[in-house]
Amino acid sequence: MTGVLTIARLTLHEALRRRILTAALIVGAAFLALYGVGLHFILRENSNHGNMTLLERRVFLNIMTLAGLYAANLLTVMTAVLLPVDTLSGEITSGVIQTLAVRPIRRRDIVLGKWLGHWIVMGGYLALLAGGVLAIMAFSAHFTPPGIQRGLPLMLLEGTVLLTVSIMGGTRLSTVTNGMLAFGLFGLAFIGNWVEQIGTMAGNDAAQRVGTVASLIMPCDALWQLAATQMQPSILRDLGASPFSPISVPSTTMVFWGIGYILVALAVGVRAFHRRAL
């Protein structure tokens, strides 16, 4: 365990020292500032006209919160893929990993330590962005969406899936190939979800099944759909009245699939790194 913690600490140190995190924080802060300013003007416009019912206002605020969380989710997903994309492949190519691997630690400690370090950074980043969106909404409109205690962990699970895929790929693939694989899978899940939604709307079972298979290959988009479903009132969900209300709601089994996916990807990464010539 000492090895895992030492490598995790090194990873955190690296994120801070190499200004990767600083760049991500600047982008995140810019997003929150834009979101806050935009929301301020929209709310002022709405209050000037004053023609919204309470229900309409709550629906509107919920959609605005989900829009913010969607952007926060996207930034987190990108961070989850890009932050660790060269952590192993880059260090293997440059030879940096050699002096670590000859120390009396297990190779799996290196993989797990890097995973843990990046997970803490990614989790912190998500907390900051999603927390920022929720705080801006609470401060500006005194509104908090329902189900955030279920929705935010699902967003974290989604980021963890992609982070783990990026770490796993780094044990065998070059940095560029690894990045393409992770983003490719993310794209596959995104398109798969649209195929599933359209298939459900059109009553096309085959299209629906294609979407489900895509979600099984990469469950990240299904986890976002599930998170978004949790963070809106049932009326909005049932009517499909917002862009964030999926017509075909993923099964909650997808949570277990996501957790299993992470464990298997980590195990594959550990095994591949163990056998890799360094």
Binding site: T2, G3, T6, L10, H13, E14, R17, R18, S94, G95, V96, Q98, T99, L100, A101, V102, R103, P104, I105, R106, R275, A277, L278
Partner: protein, 312 residues
């Protein structure tokens, strides 16, 4: 310490269709400074990586410090300076040593004390707070040497430790190797700089195409010596007598005369030189000068490897 710290038998590494190491069988005894020499692509670095557990051998067996290669506990007693010394360049020199102290399981107090002592030893105290990315190649190699020695290892692998170093840096590495040898630490040195090897190693092995083709103690290089004798006119009879005492060279001759009065020959044993001088004097050949040049490690390397395999 005389037990074998490294023993390999038929170690082989295949990368796809390419054979990096064909058949590595060697023994390194405790306390030796062992030189591992060979041209580029001979399989030296892959051999070191197999001994460190970084690369799994395709076949064969090996033990390091009495344990199978890669054994985790044994790795705490190893030091390693890689050929392409690349470290976490965003760390400072001091932070790098603290990191490796933690990985070695040293207490924070011991780790700090050891790091400071080594920073002083490799003359990097003033640069210890600077990020490694600002270091010159020589400084990076010195901090690498410090991390290799951090755990007070019983066996140190140095893969080209002086490439890129200035003369003072090379002298420092040479001194460190001598200190290690005096302490009984075994050093496995892979270097292209044969002069360095000759000055530091007690035994060397020549590797060619993934096999050890020759092993020798460094002192043995004095076995062959080139002798140049400036004398009076040398008659045929004297030349034959001297030639019988000299080594027959590749061209079939054992001794040759240059400019009527200079005799050149190679002896396998310096103790033959008085007999050669006596043979000339007995035949009334006046001797003005005898110069003996020992065969250098480089000459032996070229002899073993062939001229087409010059190191470098």
């Amino acid at each position: 310490m005389t037990e074998h710290v490294i023993e390999t038998r038929g170690l082989r590494k295949q990368f796809g269709a390419k054979t990096a190491v064909e058949d590595l069988s060697l023994t390194v005894r405790g306390g030796e400074v062992f030189g591992f020499l060979g041209p580029n692509g001979a399989g030296k670095t892959t051999s070191i990586k197999m001994l460190l557990g970084l690369v799994a051998p395709t076949s064969g067996s090996a033990s390091v410090l009495g344990a199978p290669v890669g054994d985790r506990r044994t790795r705490a007693r190893l030091g390693f300076l890689p050929e392409h010394f690349r470290f976490q360049e965003w760390l400072t020199g001091r932070e790098l040593l603290h990191l490796h102290a933690r990985l070695l399981g040293l207490t924070p107090r011991d780790g700090k004390a050891r790091a400071e002592a080594l920073l002083a030893r490799v003359d990097l105290v003033d640069a210890a707070r600077r990020p490694i990315r600002t270091y010159s190649k020589g400084m990076m190699q010195r901090v690498g040497l410090a991390q290799a020695l951090l755990g007070d290892p019983a066996l140190v692998f140095l893969d080209e430790p002086t490439s890129g170093m200035d003369p003072l840096g090379r002298l420092l590495v040479r001194d460190v190797i001598h200190e290690l040898r005096d302490r009984g630490t075994t050093v496995f040195l892979n270097s292209h700089l044969l002069g360095e090897v000759e000055a530091t190693c007690t035994r060397v092995a020549f590797v060619k195409e993934g096999r050890i083709v020759h092993e020798m103690r460094v002192g043995e290089t004095t076995g062959d010596a080139e002798v140049e004798i400036r004398a009076g006119t040398i008659p045929r009879e004297a030349l034959d007598a001297v030639g019988a005492l000299a080594r027959v060279l590749d061209d079939g001759h054992s001794a040759r005369i240059e400019g009527r009065t200079t005799l050149r020959l190679t002896v396998t044993d310096e103790e033959r030189i008085p007999a050669i001088a006596r043979a000339l004097v007995e035949r009334a050949v006046p001797i003005y000068e005898i110069r003996v040049a020992r065969l250098s490690l480089e000459a032996r390397f070229l002899e073993v490897m062939g001229e087409d395999q010059r190191p470098g």
